[in-house]
Protein backbone atom coordinates (compact mmCIF):
# COMPACT_ATOMS: atom_id res chain seq x y z
CA UNK A 1 0.00 0.00 0.00
CA UNK A 2 1.41 3.36 -0.99
CA UNK A 3 1.77 6.01 1.63
CA UNK A 4 0.85 9.64 1.09
CA UNK A 5 2.07 12.41 3.35
CA UNK A 6 -0.51 15.19 3.58
CA UNK A 7 0.70 18.69 4.46
CA UNK A 8 -2.40 20.77 5.03
CA UNK A 9 -3.20 23.26 7.78
CA UNK A 10 -6.98 23.15 7.56
CA UNK A 11 -7.99 20.41 10.03
CA UNK A 12 -11.20 19.43 8.26
CA UNK A 13 -9.57 19.11 4.86
CA UNK A 14 -6.73 17.14 6.42
CA UNK A 15 -9.05 14.67 8.10
CA UNK A 16 -11.47 14.28 5.22
CA UNK A 17 -8.63 13.97 2.72
CA UNK A 18 -7.01 11.22 4.81
CA UNK A 19 -10.34 9.43 5.04
CA UNK A 20 -10.98 9.82 1.32
CA UNK A 21 -7.54 8.61 0.30
CA UNK A 22 -7.49 5.72 2.75
CA UNK A 23 -10.85 4.56 1.40
CA UNK A 24 -9.29 4.61 -2.03
CA UNK A 25 -6.48 2.36 -1.01
CA UNK A 26 -3.75 4.67 0.25
CA UNK A 27 -2.04 4.86 3.59
CA UNK A 28 -2.02 8.45 4.89
CA UNK A 29 0.14 10.34 7.30
CA UNK A 30 -0.43 13.93 8.40
CA UNK A 31 1.19 16.34 10.77
CA UNK A 32 0.22 19.32 12.88
CA UNK A 33 3.76 20.44 13.31
CA UNK A 34 4.62 22.75 10.46
CA UNK A 35 8.03 23.66 11.80
CA UNK A 36 9.93 20.49 10.97
CA UNK A 37 8.13 19.46 7.85
CA UNK A 38 11.14 18.26 5.92
CA UNK A 39 12.18 15.97 8.75
CA UNK A 40 8.67 14.56 9.14
CA UNK A 41 8.46 13.86 5.42
CA UNK A 42 11.82 12.13 5.38
CA UNK A 43 10.94 10.00 8.41
CA UNK A 44 7.56 8.98 7.06
CA UNK A 45 8.73 6.71 4.22
CA UNK A 46 5.85 8.09 2.16
CA UNK A 47 5.78 7.64 -1.61
CA UNK A 48 4.08 10.95 -2.33
CA UNK A 49 3.56 14.36 -0.71
CA UNK A 50 0.40 16.41 -1.05
CA UNK A 51 1.50 19.93 -0.21
CA UNK A 52 -0.75 22.90 0.49
CA UNK A 53 0.99 26.15 -0.39
CA UNK A 54 -0.65 28.38 2.22
CA UNK A 55 0.78 27.19 5.49
CA UNK A 56 1.36 28.74 8.89
CA UNK A 57 5.00 29.58 9.80
CA UNK A 58 6.42 28.68 6.42
CA UNK A 59 5.80 29.22 2.76
CA UNK A 60 4.80 26.08 0.89
CA UNK A 61 7.23 26.83 -1.91
CA UNK A 62 10.03 26.95 0.60
CA UNK A 63 8.98 23.56 1.98
CA UNK A 64 8.90 22.21 -1.55
CA UNK A 65 12.41 23.46 -2.19
CA UNK A 66 13.69 22.09 1.10
CA UNK A 67 12.21 18.64 0.51
CA UNK A 68 13.80 18.59 -2.94
CA UNK A 69 17.24 19.21 -1.47
CA UNK A 70 17.31 15.82 0.18
CA UNK A 71 14.66 13.73 -1.52
CA UNK A 72 13.17 12.83 -4.89
CA UNK A 73 9.77 12.05 -3.44
CA UNK A 74 6.98 13.12 -5.81
CA UNK A 75 5.19 16.28 -4.67
CA UNK A 76 1.75 17.43 -5.75
CA UNK A 77 1.12 21.06 -4.88
CA UNK A 78 -2.40 22.01 -3.84
CA UNK A 79 -3.38 25.67 -3.85
CA UNK A 80 -6.40 27.91 -4.00
CA UNK A 81 -4.59 30.48 -6.10
CA UNK A 82 -4.81 29.46 -9.70
CA UNK A 83 -2.57 31.98 -11.37
CA UNK A 84 0.02 31.03 -13.95
CA UNK A 85 2.65 32.41 -11.62
CA UNK A 86 1.72 29.95 -8.87
CA UNK A 87 1.91 27.08 -11.30
CA UNK A 88 5.27 28.23 -12.57
CA UNK A 89 6.63 28.70 -9.05
CA UNK A 90 5.53 25.20 -8.06
CA UNK A 91 7.21 23.65 -11.06
CA UNK A 92 10.34 25.71 -10.50
CA UNK A 93 10.59 24.55 -6.92
CA UNK A 94 10.46 20.95 -8.03
CA UNK A 95 6.81 19.96 -7.69
CA UNK A 96 5.63 17.11 -9.91
CA UNK A 97 2.08 18.33 -10.36
CA UNK A 98 -0.16 21.23 -9.48
CA UNK A 99 -3.84 21.11 -8.60
CA UNK A 100 -6.18 23.92 -7.56
CA UNK A 101 -8.77 23.99 -4.82
CA UNK A 102 -11.59 23.19 -4.77
CA UNK A 103 -10.53 20.02 -6.48
CA UNK A 104 -12.73 17.42 -7.96
CA UNK A 105 -11.91 14.36 -5.87
CA UNK A 106 -11.83 12.07 -8.89
CA UNK A 107 -9.31 14.35 -10.56
CA UNK A 108 -7.20 14.44 -7.44
CA UNK A 109 -7.22 10.67 -7.34
CA UNK A 110 -6.33 10.43 -11.02
CA UNK A 111 -3.43 12.85 -10.59
CA UNK A 112 -2.11 10.93 -7.60
CA UNK A 113 -2.36 7.68 -9.54
CA UNK A 114 -0.59 9.05 -12.57
CA UNK A 115 2.23 10.65 -10.56
CA UNK A 116 2.71 7.44 -8.63
CA UNK A 117 2.63 5.39 -11.81
CA UNK A 118 5.33 7.62 -13.28
CA UNK A 119 7.56 7.49 -10.27
CA UNK A 120 7.13 4.04 -8.77
CA UNK A 121 7.13 0.73 -10.54
CA UNK A 122 3.93 -0.57 -9.07
CA UNK A 123 2.27 -3.60 -10.51
CA UNK A 124 -0.55 -2.15 -12.51
CA UNK A 125 -3.00 -4.88 -11.78
CA UNK A 126 -6.22 -5.15 -9.87
CA UNK A 127 -7.57 -8.47 -8.80
CA UNK A 128 -11.12 -9.18 -7.64
CA UNK A 129 -12.83 -12.56 -7.38
CA UNK A 130 -10.33 -14.22 -9.69
CA UNK A 131 -10.65 -11.54 -12.36
CA UNK A 132 -7.53 -9.52 -13.13
CA UNK A 133 -7.60 -6.07 -14.67
CA UNK A 134 -4.27 -5.14 -16.30
CA UNK A 135 -4.01 -1.37 -16.45
CA UNK A 136 -0.80 -1.35 -18.48
CA UNK A 137 -2.16 -3.09 -21.57
CA UNK A 138 -5.90 -2.54 -21.04
CA UNK A 139 -6.91 -6.13 -20.76
CA UNK A 140 -8.85 -8.46 -18.51
CA UNK A 141 -7.66 -11.94 -17.71
CA UNK A 142 -9.21 -14.89 -15.94
CA UNK A 143 -7.88 -18.44 -15.74
CA UNK A 144 -5.35 -18.09 -18.57
CA UNK A 145 -7.83 -16.39 -20.84
CA UNK A 146 -7.30 -12.81 -21.79
CA UNK A 147 -9.28 -10.17 -23.65
CA UNK A 148 -8.52 -6.59 -24.61
CA UNK A 149 -10.92 -3.87 -23.52
CA UNK A 150 -11.33 -0.23 -24.53
CA UNK A 151 -10.25 2.78 -22.51
CA UNK A 152 -13.80 3.51 -21.38
CA UNK A 153 -14.43 -0.09 -20.41
CA UNK A 154 -11.22 -0.09 -18.43
CA UNK A 155 -12.25 3.06 -16.56
CA UNK A 156 -15.63 1.57 -15.71
CA UNK A 157 -14.14 -1.71 -14.54
CA UNK A 158 -11.41 0.05 -12.57
CA UNK A 159 -13.95 2.17 -10.71
CA UNK A 160 -16.13 -0.82 -9.84
CA UNK A 161 -13.19 -3.04 -8.87
CA UNK A 162 -11.79 -0.44 -6.47
CA UNK A 163 -15.16 -0.21 -4.72
CA UNK A 164 -16.02 -3.87 -4.35
CA UNK A 165 -19.26 -4.46 -2.49
CA UNK A 166 -20.65 -0.98 -2.92
CA UNK A 167 -23.22 0.11 -5.44
CA UNK A 168 -21.72 2.56 -7.90
CA UNK A 169 -24.32 4.85 -9.42
CA UNK A 170 -24.58 5.34 -13.15
CA UNK A 171 -24.12 9.09 -12.69
CA UNK A 172 -20.90 8.50 -10.76
CA UNK A 173 -19.53 6.22 -13.48
CA UNK A 174 -20.40 8.86 -16.04
CA UNK A 175 -18.71 11.55 -13.98
CA UNK A 176 -15.49 9.53 -13.88
CA UNK A 177 -15.66 9.13 -17.67
CA UNK A 178 -16.41 12.83 -18.11
CA UNK A 179 -13.40 13.75 -15.99
CA UNK A 180 -11.23 11.93 -18.52
CA UNK A 181 -12.86 13.81 -21.40
CA UNK A 182 -15.26 11.06 -22.46
CA UNK A 183 -18.55 12.92 -22.49
CA UNK A 184 -20.79 9.89 -22.69
CA UNK A 185 -24.54 10.08 -22.24
CA UNK A 186 -26.90 7.61 -20.65
CA UNK A 187 -27.35 5.45 -23.76
CA UNK A 188 -23.64 5.27 -24.49
CA UNK A 189 -22.98 4.11 -20.96
CA UNK A 190 -25.54 1.33 -21.34
CA UNK A 191 -23.88 0.29 -24.59
CA UNK A 192 -20.44 0.36 -22.94
CA UNK A 193 -21.62 -1.76 -20.02
CA UNK A 194 -23.30 -4.29 -22.30
CA UNK A 195 -20.21 -4.61 -24.49
CA UNK A 196 -18.04 -5.01 -21.41
CA UNK A 197 -20.32 -7.79 -20.12
CA UNK A 198 -20.18 -9.59 -23.45
CA UNK A 199 -16.38 -9.38 -23.49
CA UNK A 200 -16.22 -10.73 -19.95
CA UNK A 201 -18.60 -13.54 -20.82
CA UNK A 202 -16.48 -14.46 -23.85
CA UNK A 203 -13.63 -15.43 -21.50
CA UNK A 204 -15.97 -17.22 -19.13
CA UNK A 205 -16.63 -14.48 -16.58
CA UNK A 206 -20.36 -14.51 -15.91
CA UNK A 207 -22.38 -12.32 -13.55
CA UNK A 208 -19.30 -10.37 -12.50
CA UNK A 209 -20.92 -7.00 -13.08
CA UNK A 210 -24.33 -6.94 -11.48
CA UNK A 211 -27.05 -4.41 -12.13
CA UNK A 212 -28.94 -2.95 -9.21
CA UNK A 213 -32.05 -1.70 -10.91
CA UNK A 214 -32.57 2.01 -10.46
CA UNK A 215 -29.42 2.34 -8.38
CA UNK A 216 -26.36 1.37 -10.37
CA UNK A 217 -23.83 -1.41 -10.65
CA UNK A 218 -21.95 -3.55 -8.17
CA UNK A 219 -19.17 -6.13 -8.17
Amino acid sequence: MEKIFIIEDDIKIREELSLFLSRNGYDCETTENFKNLVESVNNSNAQLVLLDINLPYVDGYHVCKEIRKTSDIPIIVVTSRNSDLDELMSMNFGADDFITKPYNTQILLARIQSVLRRTTQTSEQLQVKGVTLNLSDASVSCQNQKIEITKNEMKILHLLMTQVGTIVKRDDIMDVLWQSNEFVDDNTLTVNINRLRKKLESIGINDFLKTKRGQGYII
Partner: protein, 335 residues
Protein backbone atom coordinates in the same frame (compact mmCIF):
# COMPACT_ATOMS: atom_id res chain seq x y z
CA UNK B 1 -12.39 84.47 -26.65
CA UNK B 2 -14.07 86.23 -29.52
CA UNK B 3 -13.55 89.92 -30.20
CA UNK B 4 -17.29 90.56 -30.18
CA UNK B 5 -17.70 89.04 -26.74
CA UNK B 6 -14.77 90.98 -25.42
CA UNK B 7 -16.19 94.25 -26.79
CA UNK B 8 -19.58 93.55 -25.22
CA UNK B 9 -17.76 92.80 -22.00
CA UNK B 10 -16.03 96.19 -22.13
CA UNK B 11 -19.15 98.21 -23.00
CA UNK B 12 -19.31 100.14 -19.72
CA UNK B 13 -15.66 101.03 -20.07
CA UNK B 14 -16.20 102.28 -23.65
CA UNK B 15 -19.23 104.31 -22.62
CA UNK B 16 -17.35 105.91 -19.73
CA UNK B 17 -14.37 106.60 -21.93
CA UNK B 18 -16.53 108.16 -24.67
CA UNK B 19 -18.17 110.37 -22.05
CA UNK B 20 -14.74 111.45 -20.76
CA UNK B 21 -13.57 112.28 -24.28
CA UNK B 22 -16.74 114.23 -24.91
CA UNK B 23 -16.23 116.25 -21.70
CA UNK B 24 -12.58 116.77 -22.64
CA UNK B 25 -13.65 118.19 -26.02
CA UNK B 26 -16.06 120.52 -24.26
CA UNK B 27 -13.28 121.60 -21.89
CA UNK B 28 -10.83 122.12 -24.75
CA UNK B 29 -13.31 124.30 -26.69
CA UNK B 30 -14.17 126.21 -23.49
CA UNK B 31 -10.52 127.19 -22.96
CA UNK B 32 -10.33 128.27 -26.59
CA UNK B 33 -8.35 125.48 -28.29
CA UNK B 34 -9.23 125.51 -31.97
CA UNK B 35 -10.88 122.59 -33.86
CA UNK B 36 -7.71 121.14 -35.39
CA UNK B 37 -6.08 121.12 -31.95
CA UNK B 38 -9.11 119.36 -30.55
CA UNK B 39 -9.07 116.73 -33.34
CA UNK B 40 -5.36 116.20 -32.78
CA UNK B 41 -5.83 115.54 -29.06
CA UNK B 42 -8.83 113.29 -29.83
CA UNK B 43 -6.92 111.17 -32.39
CA UNK B 44 -3.93 110.97 -30.04
CA UNK B 45 -6.05 109.81 -27.13
CA UNK B 46 -8.05 107.27 -29.17
CA UNK B 47 -4.97 105.77 -30.90
CA UNK B 48 -3.08 105.42 -27.65
CA UNK B 49 -6.03 103.77 -26.09
CA UNK B 50 -6.64 101.40 -28.98
CA UNK B 51 -3.01 100.37 -28.86
CA UNK B 52 -3.23 99.42 -25.22
CA UNK B 53 -6.60 97.71 -25.67
CA UNK B 54 -5.40 95.53 -28.55
CA UNK B 55 -2.36 94.50 -26.52
CA UNK B 56 -4.64 93.61 -23.62
CA UNK B 57 -7.06 91.78 -25.90
CA UNK B 58 -4.39 89.74 -27.64
CA UNK B 59 -2.63 88.47 -24.54
CA UNK B 60 -5.97 87.30 -23.16
CA UNK B 61 -6.99 85.96 -26.53
CA UNK B 62 -3.79 83.92 -26.78
CA UNK B 63 -4.06 82.56 -23.25
CA UNK B 64 -7.66 81.44 -23.61
CA UNK B 65 -7.05 80.10 -27.10
CA UNK B 66 -4.23 77.94 -25.79
CA UNK B 67 -6.34 76.84 -22.84
CA UNK B 68 -9.24 75.86 -25.07
CA UNK B 69 -7.08 74.02 -27.58
CA UNK B 70 -5.33 72.06 -24.86
CA UNK B 71 -8.62 71.23 -23.21
CA UNK B 72 -10.05 69.89 -26.45
CA UNK B 73 -6.90 67.97 -27.26
CA UNK B 74 -6.61 66.34 -23.87
CA UNK B 75 -7.84 62.83 -23.26
CA UNK B 76 -7.87 63.38 -19.51
CA UNK B 77 -9.15 66.92 -18.89
CA UNK B 78 -7.92 66.87 -15.33
CA UNK B 79 -4.35 67.19 -16.57
CA UNK B 80 -5.05 70.66 -18.01
CA UNK B 81 -3.05 72.60 -15.39
CA UNK B 82 0.05 70.60 -16.31
CA UNK B 83 0.07 71.71 -19.92
CA UNK B 84 -0.76 75.44 -19.89
CA UNK B 85 1.81 78.18 -19.16
CA UNK B 86 1.25 80.81 -16.48
CA UNK B 87 0.03 83.95 -18.34
CA UNK B 88 1.49 87.44 -17.83
CA UNK B 89 -1.66 89.14 -16.55
CA UNK B 90 -3.17 88.94 -13.13
CA UNK B 91 -6.60 87.57 -13.99
CA UNK B 92 -4.92 84.84 -16.00
CA UNK B 93 -2.62 84.01 -13.10
CA UNK B 94 -5.63 83.76 -10.84
CA UNK B 95 -7.37 81.55 -13.36
CA UNK B 96 -4.30 79.36 -13.66
CA UNK B 97 -4.03 79.08 -9.91
CA UNK B 98 -7.70 78.15 -9.55
CA UNK B 99 -7.48 75.51 -12.28
CA UNK B 100 -4.41 74.00 -10.65
CA UNK B 101 -6.05 73.88 -7.25
CA UNK B 102 -9.28 72.38 -8.55
CA UNK B 103 -7.40 69.85 -10.61
CA UNK B 104 -5.21 68.84 -7.72
CA UNK B 105 -8.16 68.37 -5.44
CA UNK B 106 -9.91 66.33 -8.13
CA UNK B 107 -6.86 64.17 -8.72
CA UNK B 108 -6.48 63.56 -5.00
CA UNK B 109 -10.06 62.44 -4.85
CA UNK B 110 -9.65 60.15 -7.83
CA UNK B 111 -6.54 58.68 -6.22
CA UNK B 112 -8.53 57.93 -3.08
CA UNK B 113 -11.19 56.12 -5.06
CA UNK B 114 -8.62 54.27 -7.11
CA UNK B 115 -6.98 53.05 -3.96
CA UNK B 116 -10.30 52.11 -2.41
CA UNK B 117 -11.21 50.21 -5.57
CA UNK B 118 -7.90 48.43 -5.63
CA UNK B 119 -8.23 47.53 -1.95
CA UNK B 120 -11.71 46.22 -2.61
CA UNK B 121 -10.54 44.21 -5.58
CA UNK B 122 -7.66 42.76 -3.57
CA UNK B 123 -10.12 41.89 -0.84
CA UNK B 124 -12.40 40.12 -3.32
CA UNK B 125 -9.43 38.18 -4.67
CA UNK B 126 -8.37 37.14 -1.18
CA UNK B 127 -11.94 36.32 -0.22
CA UNK B 128 -12.38 34.16 -3.28
CA UNK B 129 -9.24 32.20 -2.41
CA UNK B 130 -10.26 31.86 1.22
CA UNK B 131 -13.75 30.61 0.44
CA UNK B 132 -12.19 27.86 -1.62
CA UNK B 133 -10.86 26.13 1.48
CA UNK B 134 -14.28 25.53 3.09
CA UNK B 135 -15.63 24.64 -0.35
CA UNK B 136 -12.89 22.06 -0.82
CA UNK B 137 -13.57 20.72 2.67
CA UNK B 138 -17.30 20.45 1.92
CA UNK B 139 -16.57 18.61 -1.29
CA UNK B 140 -14.42 16.08 0.55
CA UNK B 141 -17.00 15.61 3.32
CA UNK B 142 -19.68 15.05 0.67
CA UNK B 143 -17.47 12.51 -1.05
CA UNK B 144 -16.80 10.65 2.17
CA UNK B 145 -20.49 10.54 3.00
CA UNK B 146 -22.06 9.78 -0.31
CA UNK B 147 -25.84 9.59 -0.31
CA UNK B 148 -28.79 11.23 -2.06
CA UNK B 149 -28.75 14.26 0.23
CA UNK B 150 -25.04 14.95 -0.05
CA UNK B 151 -25.19 14.41 -3.79
CA UNK B 152 -27.81 17.09 -3.98
CA UNK B 153 -25.69 19.35 -1.77
CA UNK B 154 -22.79 18.67 -4.11
CA UNK B 155 -24.73 20.13 -7.01
CA UNK B 156 -25.46 23.21 -4.90
CA UNK B 157 -21.79 23.50 -3.92
CA UNK B 158 -20.92 23.43 -7.62
CA UNK B 159 -23.30 26.35 -8.13
CA UNK B 160 -21.69 28.25 -5.25
CA UNK B 161 -18.32 27.67 -6.88
CA UNK B 162 -19.64 29.06 -10.16
CA UNK B 163 -20.93 32.20 -8.41
CA UNK B 164 -17.66 32.65 -6.54
CA UNK B 165 -15.81 32.40 -9.83
CA UNK B 166 -18.16 34.99 -11.29
CA UNK B 167 -17.39 37.43 -8.47
CA UNK B 168 -13.68 37.01 -9.09
CA UNK B 169 -13.99 37.70 -12.79
CA UNK B 170 -16.32 40.61 -12.17
CA UNK B 171 -13.69 42.21 -9.96
CA UNK B 172 -11.09 41.53 -12.63
CA UNK B 173 -13.17 42.78 -15.54
CA UNK B 174 -13.35 46.31 -14.12
CA UNK B 175 -9.67 46.53 -13.51
CA UNK B 176 -7.80 49.22 -15.35
CA UNK B 177 -4.72 47.14 -15.96
CA UNK B 178 -4.58 44.11 -18.14
CA UNK B 179 -4.23 40.97 -16.13
CA UNK B 180 -4.67 38.47 -18.85
CA UNK B 181 -2.21 36.77 -21.13
CA UNK B 182 -3.23 36.10 -24.68
CA UNK B 183 -1.65 33.04 -26.23
CA UNK B 184 -2.42 30.32 -28.73
CA UNK B 185 -4.58 27.65 -27.13
CA UNK B 186 -6.58 24.73 -28.40
CA UNK B 187 -10.34 25.35 -28.29
CA UNK B 188 -10.89 21.67 -27.84
CA UNK B 189 -9.08 21.51 -24.49
CA UNK B 190 -10.87 24.60 -23.13
CA UNK B 191 -14.31 23.34 -24.14
CA UNK B 192 -13.58 20.02 -22.47
CA UNK B 193 -12.34 21.69 -19.31
CA UNK B 194 -15.54 23.75 -19.09
CA UNK B 195 -17.66 20.65 -19.63
CA UNK B 196 -15.78 18.81 -16.89
CA UNK B 197 -16.52 21.67 -14.48
CA UNK B 198 -20.23 21.24 -15.04
CA UNK B 199 -20.16 17.43 -15.26
CA UNK B 200 -22.48 16.74 -12.32
CA UNK B 201 -25.27 19.06 -13.42
CA UNK B 202 -24.93 18.05 -17.06
CA UNK B 203 -25.07 14.36 -16.22
CA UNK B 204 -28.05 14.80 -13.93
CA UNK B 205 -29.76 16.67 -16.77
CA UNK B 206 -28.96 13.72 -19.07
CA UNK B 207 -27.02 15.89 -21.44
CA UNK B 208 -26.12 14.73 -24.93
CA UNK B 209 -22.84 16.40 -25.91
CA UNK B 210 -21.68 16.80 -29.48
CA UNK B 211 -18.35 18.21 -30.57
CA UNK B 212 -17.63 18.86 -34.22
CA UNK B 213 -14.32 20.00 -35.49
CA UNK B 214 -13.23 22.01 -32.47
CA UNK B 215 -9.54 21.08 -32.57
CA UNK B 216 -8.60 24.62 -33.56
CA UNK B 217 -5.95 26.92 -32.16
CA UNK B 218 -7.13 30.40 -31.22
CA UNK B 219 -5.55 33.40 -29.52
CA UNK B 220 -7.05 34.05 -26.11
CA UNK B 221 -6.46 33.94 -22.38
CA UNK B 222 -7.24 30.32 -21.45
CA UNK B 223 -8.57 31.09 -17.96
CA UNK B 224 -10.82 33.88 -19.18
CA UNK B 225 -12.18 31.83 -22.04
CA UNK B 226 -12.81 28.83 -19.82
CA UNK B 227 -14.77 31.12 -17.53
CA UNK B 228 -16.79 32.48 -20.47
CA UNK B 229 -17.53 28.97 -21.75
CA UNK B 230 -18.54 27.90 -18.24
CA UNK B 231 -20.98 30.78 -18.00
CA UNK B 232 -22.51 29.89 -21.36
CA UNK B 233 -22.81 26.20 -20.47
CA UNK B 234 -24.25 27.23 -17.09
CA UNK B 235 -26.95 29.22 -18.90
CA UNK B 236 -27.76 26.27 -21.14
CA UNK B 237 -28.18 24.09 -18.06
CA UNK B 238 -30.45 26.65 -16.40
CA UNK B 239 -32.63 27.15 -19.45
CA UNK B 240 -33.03 23.61 -20.82
CA UNK B 241 -35.37 20.73 -20.12
CA UNK B 242 -34.07 17.26 -19.23
CA UNK B 243 -32.74 15.55 -21.37
CA UNK B 244 -30.72 18.48 -22.63
CA UNK B 245 -28.58 18.89 -25.71
CA UNK B 246 -25.30 20.74 -26.20
CA UNK B 247 -23.32 21.11 -29.38
CA UNK B 248 -19.93 22.70 -29.95
CA UNK B 249 -18.78 23.35 -33.47
CA UNK B 250 -16.54 25.75 -35.37
CA UNK B 251 -16.70 27.65 -38.60
CA UNK B 252 -13.57 29.02 -40.18
CA UNK B 253 -13.39 31.85 -42.68
CA UNK B 254 -10.50 33.94 -43.93
CA UNK B 255 -10.70 36.38 -41.03
CA UNK B 256 -11.81 34.37 -38.07
CA UNK B 257 -12.59 31.14 -36.29
CA UNK B 258 -16.13 31.12 -34.92
CA UNK B 259 -17.02 28.82 -32.07
CA UNK B 260 -20.73 28.01 -31.94
CA UNK B 261 -22.33 26.67 -28.79
CA UNK B 262 -25.87 25.46 -29.38
CA UNK B 263 -28.44 24.13 -26.95
CA UNK B 264 -32.00 22.97 -27.54
CA UNK B 265 -33.40 24.80 -24.55
CA UNK B 266 -36.12 27.36 -23.99
CA UNK B 267 -34.57 29.89 -26.35
CA UNK B 268 -34.66 33.66 -25.92
CA UNK B 269 -37.65 35.82 -26.81
CA UNK B 270 -37.20 38.29 -29.69
CA UNK B 271 -37.92 41.19 -27.36
CA UNK B 272 -35.14 40.06 -25.02
CA UNK B 273 -32.40 39.06 -27.40
CA UNK B 274 -31.09 42.58 -27.98
CA UNK B 275 -30.55 43.13 -24.27
CA UNK B 276 -28.94 39.92 -23.06
CA UNK B 277 -25.49 41.49 -22.78
CA UNK B 278 -26.74 44.40 -20.67
CA UNK B 279 -25.71 44.47 -17.05
CA UNK B 280 -28.50 43.40 -14.75
CA UNK B 281 -30.81 42.40 -17.57
CA UNK B 282 -33.19 39.62 -16.55
CA UNK B 283 -35.34 38.46 -19.43
CA UNK B 284 -38.49 36.35 -19.54
CA UNK B 285 -36.46 33.18 -18.95
CA UNK B 286 -34.60 34.72 -16.03
CA UNK B 287 -37.85 35.77 -14.38
CA UNK B 288 -39.46 32.39 -14.95
CA UNK B 289 -36.50 30.54 -13.53
CA UNK B 290 -36.05 33.10 -10.79
CA UNK B 291 -32.32 32.62 -10.47
CA UNK B 292 -30.89 35.02 -12.97
CA UNK B 293 -28.63 37.83 -11.84
CA UNK B 294 -28.14 39.44 -15.22
CA UNK B 295 -24.41 39.38 -14.68
CA UNK B 296 -23.23 36.25 -16.50
CA UNK B 297 -23.59 37.23 -20.14
CA UNK B 298 -22.75 40.86 -19.41
CA UNK B 299 -19.47 39.70 -17.94
CA UNK B 300 -18.78 37.37 -20.87
CA UNK B 301 -19.34 40.25 -23.23
CA UNK B 302 -17.02 42.57 -21.28
CA UNK B 303 -14.25 39.98 -21.08
CA UNK B 304 -14.58 39.20 -24.79
CA UNK B 305 -14.32 42.89 -25.63
CA UNK B 306 -11.18 43.21 -23.55
CA UNK B 307 -9.56 40.30 -25.34
CA UNK B 308 -10.63 41.55 -28.77
CA UNK B 309 -13.16 38.79 -29.36
CA UNK B 310 -16.77 39.34 -30.31
CA UNK B 311 -19.74 37.59 -28.85
CA UNK B 312 -23.13 37.11 -30.53
CA UNK B 313 -26.26 35.27 -29.71
CA UNK B 314 -28.98 33.80 -31.92
CA UNK B 315 -32.10 32.09 -30.75
CA UNK B 316 -35.57 30.88 -31.49
CA UNK B 317 -38.03 30.29 -28.68
CA UNK B 318 -38.50 26.61 -27.78
CA UNK B 319 -36.00 25.58 -30.45
CA UNK B 320 -32.43 26.61 -29.78
CA UNK B 321 -30.00 29.17 -28.44
CA UNK B 322 -26.72 29.59 -30.21
CA UNK B 323 -23.82 31.58 -28.79
CA UNK B 324 -21.09 32.55 -31.24
CA UNK B 325 -17.62 33.57 -30.18
CA UNK B 326 -15.54 35.10 -32.91
CA UNK B 327 -11.75 34.73 -32.71
CA UNK B 328 -10.00 36.90 -35.27
CA UNK B 329 -7.17 35.21 -37.16
CA UNK B 330 -4.30 37.59 -37.33
CA UNK B 331 -0.60 37.19 -37.08
CA UNK B 332 -0.20 40.60 -35.49
CA UNK B 333 -2.59 40.90 -32.63
CA UNK B 334 -2.14 43.90 -30.39
CA UNK B 335 -1.19 42.67 -26.97
Amino acid sequence: MKLRHWLVDKKVYFMAHSATLFLLMLLLSAIGINRSGQVFVLIFMVLGHLGYLSYDYFRRFLFYKELKEHLEGLDKKTLISEVIDVPNFHEGELMHHIISEVTKSMNDEIAVYKKQWKDYRDYIETWVHEIKTPLAASELIINNNSNEATKSIHEEIDKVEAYVEQALFYARSNHLEKDYVIKAVSLDSLVKESLRKHSKLLISKKCEVHMNDIEKDVFTDPKWLTFILSQIIGNSIKYSETPMYLEFSTRVNSESVVLEITDHGYGIDVTDIGSVFKKGFVGINGRNEGKSTGIGLYLCHELCLKMGLSLHIESEVDKFTKVLINFPITKHIHL
